[in-house]
Symmetry: C2
Subunit: 155 residues, 2 copies
C-alpha cells in the first residue's frame, strides 16, 4: 500500500453522523439515568443488570458481556446490589469457577417498580421520535457496529 499521505478529515455529513451519535447517546442516557436514580435509586447499569436477570439467573461472565462491563466492574456492581438484598450469588452447578446471579423477591419488586417507567421513557424520549422506517434501518445496522473491530487494522 502507498504512503498515508492524505490527512483524514470528516466531511460535513460524516461529522453529523458521528457527532450526532455521541451527542444523542449522552443526552438520552443522562436523562434516563437522572430519572432512574431519582425515582428508584438505581444507576442505568444496575437497572440493565436487573433487566437481564428478570427472566432467569445469569452467570457473572454473561452478565458482564450483556451489560457492557468489565468483569471487575460487574463484581463491584453485584456486590452493591447483593448488599442491598436485591440479588444473590449462587455457586454454578456445572462450573466451580462461576456464579449464577438471581433476583431475590425484593429485587424482583424493585425491578417491577422500575421497569414500567423506564420503558415508557425510552419510548417517549427515543423510539417515539423516530419513524417506523427509521426503526427498521436502525435495527438492521446496529449489529454491524456492535462487532468489535478486527484487530490489526490500526497497528
Amino acid at each position: 500500500m502507498a504512503a498515508r499521505s492524505k490527512p483524514a478529515v470528516f466531511t460535513r455529513r460524516q461529522k453529523a453522523v458521528w457527532a450526532g451519535f455521541l451527542h444523542a447517546h449522552a443526552a438520552i442516557t443522562r436523562a434516563l439515568s437522572e430519572a432512574m436514580e431519582r425515582e428508584h435509586g438505581l444507576t442505568l447499569n444496575e437497572f440493565e443488570v436487573l433487566l437481564c436477570l428478570s427472566d432467569e439467573p445469569v452467570r457473572m461472565r454473561d452478565l458482564a458481556t450483556r451489560a457492557s462491563l468489565t468483569p471487575s466492574g460487574l463484581t463491584g456492581l453485584i456486590d452493591r446490589l447483593e448488599g442491598r438484598g436485591i440479588l444473590r450469588r449462587c455457586p454454578c452447578a456445572d462450573d466451580g469457577r462461576s456464579y449464577l446471579v438471581e433476583l431475590t423477591d425484593e429485587g424482583r419488586a424493585v425491578y417491577e417498580a422500575a421497569v414500567d417507567g423506564h420503558v415508557r421513557r425510552v419510548q417517549d424520549w427515543f423510539l417515539a421520535r423516530l419513524s417506523a422506517e427509521e426503526h427498521r434501518v436502525l435495527a438492521d445496522l446496529w449489529p454491524r457496529l456492535a462487532a468489535p473491530p478486527r484487530s490489526g487494522v490500526h497497528p
Copy 2:
C-alpha cells in the same frame, strides 16, 4: 386520560433498536478509547476537547456543552491538560467570570499527532460499515434525539 393500566413492554423490534444503540455505542467508544489511550495518552473526552479547540479558543461553558460534560467535570479535565502543558486558560475579555481555553503549541502538536488516527478509526469502525442511505437517515434523525426531553412528561 385513562388509568395507566397496560404494562409497558418493548416489542422485539423496539428492543433491537434500543439495545442495539447502547451496545454499539459501548463497543465503539471502548475500542476508540483504548486506542487513543494507548497511542497518545488521552481519554476520548480529552481528545474531544482538543478537537473543539483546534479551530479557535472556546469558553469553558461552551466546551462543557460540546463535550457533554458537567462544568465541574470540565474543570478537572482542563486542569489535567493544563498541567501537561497542552492548553491554557486566558481571562475572557468581555466577561470577567469566564475563561477562554486555547491550545498551546505543544497541545496543537499532540492534537495533530492524534487526529488522523482517530478519524481513520471512526471511518473504519463506524462510517464505513454504513451505506450512504444509512448515513443520510442518521444525520437526519440525531438532532431530534439530542434535544433534552421536555420536563413534566414523567412526573
